[in-house]
Amino acid sequence: MKKYVLVFFSIISIILINCKVKKSKINLSIVESNKVANANPTIYDMPEDSLTMTDDKKKEFKESCDRGIIIYNTICASCHNKLIDGKQVVPDFSLPQLMDYEIRIQYPSHEDRLKENNLTIQELDDVVNYLRYKKKSGVHF
């Protein structure tokens, strides 16, 4: 019996260690992800009401998304980007997941980095705009 327990725990710890290694890999490549993001032309789907949007509004929207991508890369990418075939991929979040201020508090991992003293309301709006209207990567969160 003792043996099995030992085996069991070692498997668990191997899994845990693996997870850690993977995570730190992602952390190391923030700079990389910024490069990828900057190299891609920042094209977004326009919001549903874009037909009635004035040119100014469209410009404003694009600027918000442009800021959003930078903030995403600065704050969120290290935890949320997926490494697929050696490439950084920004996952697709669903609409209900992108509930502005609830994002701040619903997840323990967000506790330190998504508080008001690290991310303003405006910036959160920008990130949400970006994540909502970016071209889909097909990778789910």
Binding site: F8, D66, Y101, I105, P108, E111, E116, N117, N118, E123
Partner: protein, 641 residues
Amino acid sequence: MKKRLVSLSLSLLVFSIIFSFTKTNEHQTYVLNFKNKLALFEQNEHELIDLINQQNQLTNSNIKIIKDKILLIRKNFKGLDFWFRYLAPLAQKKINGPLPVEWETEVFEKYEKPYKREGAGFTLALQYLEEENIDKTHLLDLLNQSIEATQIYKQDSITKELNSFPTFYLSNRLYLLNLACIYTTGFDCPDKSSIIPELKIMLADVNEIYTSFNQSFPNNSLSNLYLNTYNDCIQFVNNQPNNFEQFDHFTFIRDHINPLFKINQEHIIKNKVYSKSLMDYSLNKNANSIFSKQLYNGQNTKGIYLRVIDENALTEINKLGKLLFYDPILSGNNERSCASCHKPTQFFTDTTISTAIQFNNQNALERNTPTLINAPYNHLIMADGKHIDLQLQTKGVITSNLEMNANQDSVLSKILSCKEYDETLQKLLKYTPTEKTVKFDHIISAITYYYSQFSNYDAPFDAAMNKQTDIGEKVKNGYNLFMGKAACATCHFAPQFNGVKPPYIGSEFEVIGVPENNAYTSISNDLGRYLINPAKETKNAFRTGTIRNAAFTKPYMHNGVFSTLEQVIDFYNTGGGNGNGLHVNNQTLPSDSLLLTENEKENLILFINSLTEKVIFEPAPKKLPKSNLKYLNKRKIGGSY
């Protein structure tokens, strides 16, 4: 081998199932404690309704019976309040709302419109029973709403929260903060003779909650140190007189509540408690005292530079902010600076006049210049709460035609015409990667960062509360009056002694009926909050300011009508606007006299003096940056008026 693996995984499965079962069983004492208290409470609520329904007429003796029943239920309710306030604060307001109508704007909803909350429940029912011609339907409505709200606490989501130990520590934190700010002041208990008896019941009930929690969560239990400190607290309170005016708030908070708060914060860190509730939105895990500037986060003082942590960069921003603060280049005529009105030698206000002069250098403004010290501990800025953050306020004052009368683009280009400003701002641009060029936001962020550093200082009263020094008996007595007889603390909450109360996620407004002049001929015609949120309850309502540094920030009130603290205290002592014969609708202040003696008034002022912070001020800069536009180089440091 395969068989073994299968049996291994099977036995693991069985184990985990058994384990999960025993786990829920373990939590049952605690959850049952809640459910039993709730059931008893609900039964009492129904009995009360039946009692009222049985009366054909509400005679004085009937009313007395109803009142007694309500008082009994309130006692029942005390233990539950530990959970109610944290788990479903909106429902709590229907059960024991302190005010019939409140307009709220919460931090996480800042960019939404203020919204109306209607209170109901026992406090309001008790108050209603004091009126003449009681309408039974209205009385029943107040109480039925509370019954309805009680149902919310029966939902599965609540049970789920109860089964999670982090929620316990977070509820407990709120409970301790409320013990320091709410429960002993009569905030939600108009019958003063009940305040201390109810407190005694509450402390004992929560002790029961603690015991059941420790039984149910042995791995995350409250430490013996906490429990012993809590028992000392109970003993202390039990030895206190039931007369609310004689209660020793000072010792209660310094020796009992604040130490308990500290231990609870340590438990939060040790048990890796994180919050999923908006209730904890601005509270800081790392604050180890209620009397700490770290307790809650009010404003982002760095603005667009918020994520800058590099010390050298922060020093640069600070230097830049200081120059800008004194630079009249921010105004339309290059003659007024921030320092024109917020005089750094006078606690960043102007103590010499009621209200500052307008841009036209002729008329006076409507409102008194507020001190900038501790402005970051407000959620809404300005007396009417017009701005949701400091940066918007700075933008607002620079572009207001009554104040600095400038426009953003021209200010920016004037600033960039100064080589020193331009170089610094360009150098700092790398810290704001979302911005490709220098914007007005960079300017105002440097300013708010600069002046906010003067809010980081403590006062002798804080040191006393943190047991670093002792403080005179008169100050203690003054604080006890503040919390008790003088009723100041029902609106000015620790630690800022402003209108931000636990859990520190909103700013409160009050209607007190400040007069237009010292002769009390009429109420000030400034509509206050109504200008921002036109609802009848907000007419003449103003945001509750801080008492900190009040000894040095005269004149007082939104219009600077009072020039001494004595006048302010007399205003309250005589029942505010209504007490002084002005007709104030919805006054949120009692209109009768507080009956303060001269000696008591003196002690109150000594307490206020002990809130003078040991701010280290700086001299003005020696010179302002040179511009390549000649006409700008005539500007005076700090402006000319």
